[in-house]
Amino acid sequence: MQAQPVQTPPDTITRVPPRNGIELRINGESYLHTGDPSMPLLWYLRDVLQLTGTKYGCDSTVCGACTVLIDGKRALACARSMDTLAGSEVTTVEGLAGPDGSLHALQQAWIDEDAILCGYCQPGWLMAAADLLRRKPAPSDADIDALPNLCRCGSQPRIRRAIHRAAAQLQAAKGSK
């Protein structure tokens, strides 16, 4: 057995410089935010990444148009600054469909019930509904009543139906497995 040649260590070691910034995952991809740490997630998604499915609708955390999931739970992107999100996993409406692009049951139910109208608030509703179904796979009308989102066009009755439809579909799919 031949001895390995002994390596002489270099006089100085060049280290990889640490990257400043906030690292987080959005819809399964890694991102590093190097701008203003006080920037709300909403404007990072929209202005920086141009993931514009998450909408701006108010400044008072009341409309729900910017609803996303942070670590699986409902959150308002306007109310979470980037410096609170290091290491977080964010899901926006663009990440609701499956990796192969197949629609989430909620998205299909929204289409089936034609719940769109102007469409502006719908991404927020979809994300709030995704959170609801995670907590309550068979939500009651009262559970749906408790969703805080607003819809100016008046699609709420169809949104309600779509949520029930998606829930039933997901339950049936689960039962058949």
């Binding site: 701006y56 289409i111 769109i116 102007c118 719908q122 100016r152 066009c153």
Partner: protein, 751 residues
């Protein structure tokens, strides 16, 4: 190849070959003021028309939607009208949004696509007039091509689902016929349109064409569009209408990383409201929205009030009360039939009530915004507008750019409700882009949106009725006081009443002694178009007063209305196509009454309410069942019957009826815009509340009345009867007679 084809006088079709060998058929209308100008005198420039229909050699059909879609469903319904006549395969249709396009002219603009306006109920009637012809011509040319290819006479060929079919069953896919269709000589007369028996898409339900892009978050609204070099502008307007900037210190704002400029803007002198900035303002221009918002918050500035520094809506309401109680001569006699004063002297029954309604805002989901880039030889604008041609005209005026070099793109808009018929926000963006010398992405925050709106004017109605011994209404006197929605808009003083009242508003024509007068109020609150406008406000007063009368003389509210409408007959309307069919009104009333089981007495504390209204040939009624528990109004049932004539898309029509019903409930429950000390009080969606899911009925039961009448608009007709049906159900449930909106504060005051 380019072919022109006269259809009827002043209407033409044009066929063009697309760059990819596609067949393109357009249609449009000459729009000169004098409708009787002979065809030969019109000249070619009025007849060069643009494309609505494009068929690719691979069989894809691309249809242009000319009216903006702010949630009215025009991007689905308009292409369906074309596609039906074309016998297109709907699953192979793609829809594109058409911006405004010019036929010619810079001083006297002529538009390629004809009607381009949404949200005022005019899209469907206009489309019915000319869009079917675009589909019919394309189909005719394809049939000629198939006749040539098959040797079968055109008369023996038929079309189905994107193909021409020969008697022997052979199919010619449209795509395969395009090349030959382009070479066909155009028909001598307009190809016949289908009869309703042959409709395949019209009358059948279709989902929103953009639904998938919407639920994936991929649909790009104007606010979702970016240009790399554009600075984001966030604005502050002077909180006092007519006020000015007193002092400004921009140092701390400019110190924020990313903030580039702070600019001021002003309304231009002499420009009508809606086509110039709404108020004096300051804009912070920055690299992104967050920096601009931080910059705005760091501004140190003070404002000076204008002339009406102490104006308030409370004062305005008091002035209106005084005026309506006085003997003052009205600004306008809207209608006088018979002699109300005379009949009132002798009649045995008198009923009187005053109704008070607030100013309300539009509060569109997508706030006002505009993306604009001005180059030396070209301007690009992306903005949510309900009137693209007006948008382009304003850009031209502000920049002096040749109109043909201005590109206005019209994406789907997050709600309109009349707010986007005005373009104050667009003028701000253009003025800022000019001043800064860079592209601008203007974003209004919600507070600016709510405080700088062209509000629906509030109103007071003083209503009087007299009844004969048999308790029939024989006299009606409505006196209304409001600030005109047309003030400040280049409308002559003697026409300001037209946004506030109409001479054919029911019960006009049904009561022999009828008087309707209008008293003008002055207010610093800017006003403008809204969903249904004065129809919504007047329907509330009229329908609530009918209930008041029924209550006073102990008649059933439905019975009183049916008596009033009488045997089905047609009342002449104030406008050409405004005739009112009382039979259709009675029908929608009966339909909602039957559905809600009106004659069954509720003993569980629930109350029922019913109301009707009509707008431009469309008829609607609502019936509500509610209860009041503690401080909550619970809507157990909401029923809406709607008759809009021929239904293009029943799924879309239902969406409009449900949406308008929810809008009506939401507005009636809690919305009010107030002015105190010359400033708007409300500034966010907490103090200007939209109804939440829990406050709304779980279902809005929509009854669509089948009809062969010409189709009418559907986006506004279900608004006016909602609030009175709701309020009268609340009255029935609580015995509190509601005479003021919004309902919740009024109810809590009186309970």
């Amino acid at each position: 190849m380019s072919v022109r084809l006269p259809l009827t006088r002043r209407r033409f079709l044009q066929v063009l070959a697309g760059a990819t060998g596609a067949l393109i058929v357009g249609v449009g209308r000459a729009r000169a003021a004098d409708a009787d100008t002979p065809l030969a005198l019109l000249g070619d420039d009025l007849t060069r028309l643009g494309p609505y229909v494009r068929i690719e050699p691979d069989g894809r059909v691309i249809l242009g939607a000319r009216d903006p879609d702010c949630g009215e469903g025009t991007h689905t319904s308009l292409p369906r009208i074309i596609a039906d006549e074309l016998d297109a395969d709907w699953t192979r249709v793609e829809v594109i949004s058409l911006g405004p396009d010019l036929v010619s002219g810079n001083d006297n603009l002529r538009w390629r696509y004809g009607h381009q306006r949404s949200g005022d109920g005019s899209s469907i009637p206009a489309a019915w007039e000319d869009l079917r012809e675009a589909g019919a011509l394309a189909r005719w040319l394809l049939v000629q091509a198939a006749a040539q290819a098959s040797g079968v006479a055109a008369a023996n060929l038929r079309c189905e689902n994107g193909a021409v079919i020969a008697p022997n069953g052979r199919r010619f896919d449209y795509g395969s016929l395009v090349k030959s269709a382009l070479r066909q000589a155009p028909p001598q007369t307009a190809p016949p349109l289908k009869t309703p028996d042959d409709f395949r898409l019209i009358g059948r339900p279709a989902g929103d064409v953009d639904a998938e892009a919407m639920v994936r978050g991929e649909e790009k609204f104007a606010l979702d569009q970016y240009m790399a070099e554009a600075l984001t502008a966030v604005v502050l307007h002077c909180p006092w209408p007519g006020g000015t900037l007193d002092s400004i210190d921009t140092q701390s704002a400019l110190a924020i990383p990313g903030v580039r400029r702070v600019l001021q803007f002003q309304p231009e002198a002499g420009q009508p409201l809606g086509s110039t900035p709404i108020a004096n303002g300051v804009a912070v221009l920055a690299d992104d929205t967050w920096a601009a918002l931080r910059g705005r918050d760091a501004l140190k500035l003070s404002w000076k009030p204008g002339k009406q520094a102490d104006a308030s809506t409370a004062d305005l309401e008091q002035r209106a009360r005084d005026l309506l109680q006085s003997q003052a001569e009205p600004t306008r006699h809207v209608r006088e039939d018979g002699d109300f004063a005379e009949i009132a002297k002798h009649a045995p029954h008198h009923v009187e009530a005053m109704y008070v309604q607030p100013f309300v805002a539009h509060a569109t989901a997508e706030p006002m915004n505009c993306l604009v880039r001005i180059d030396t030889d070209r301007i690009r604008v992306v903005t949510p507008t309900q009137s693209p041609q007006e948008a382009l005209t304003i850009v031209q005026r502000l920049t002096g750019m040749n109109a043909e070099r201005i590109d206005v793109q019209v994406p789907r808009a997050g709600g309109g409700f009349g707010r986007r018929l005005d373009h104050d926000f667009l003028t701000e963006a253009v003025l800022l882009a000019k001043a800064a010398g860079t592209a601008i992405k203007l974003v209004w925050t919600r507070d600016q949106d709510l405080r700088n709106d062209f509000y629906r004017p509030g109103a007071l109605h003083r209503m009087q009725a007299v009844l004969d011994r048999r308790k029939r209404i024989v006299g009606w006197n409505v006196r209304k006081a409001s600030a005109s929605a047309l003030a400040g808009r280049d409308v002559p003083a003697d026409r300001l009443w037209t946004s506030e009242a109409r001479p054919d508003a029911l019960p006009a024509g049904l009561i022999a002694n009828f008087s309707s007068t209008w008293y003008e109020l002055d207010s610093p609150l800017p006003r403008g178009p809204s969903r249904g406008g004065h129809d919504v406000v007047d329907a509330f007063a009229t329908q609530m007063f009918l209930d008041e009368i029924a209550h006073t003389v102990r008649k059933d509210p439905l019975e009183l209305r049916m008596e009033l409408l009488g045997e089905p007959h047609v009342l002449p309307g104030a406008t050409a196509n405004g005739a009112i069919d009382t039979g259709r009104l009675a029908n929608v009333l009966q339909r909602v009454a039957a559905r809600i089981d009106w004659n069954r007495r509720r003993t569980n504390g629930h109350g029922l309410g019913i109301a009707f209204h009509h707008i431009d040939g469309a008829y609607c009624a609502h019936a509500f069942e509610v209860s009041v528990r503690g401080e909550k109004v619970i809507v157990h049932r909401a029923v809406c019957a709607i008759d809009v004539g021929r239904v293009i898309n029943p799924l879309g029509l239902k969406a409009q009826a449900v949406g308008a019903t929810v809008d009506g409930i939401s507005t009636a429950l809690g919305q009010t815009i107030q002015m105190r000390d010359g400033r708007i009080v409300q500034s966010n969606l907490r103090d200007y509340p939209l109804a939440r899911m829990a406050q709304l009925p779980r279902e809005v039961e929509v009854i669509i009345v089948a009809s062969d009448s010409a189709p009418t608009g559907a986006s506004i007709v279900a608004m006016p009867s909602t609030a009175p049906a709701l309020a009268s159900a609340v009255s029935a449930a609580t015995t509190v007679r509601v005479r003021q909106l919004p309902l919740m504060p009024e109810l809590l005051r009186k309970l």
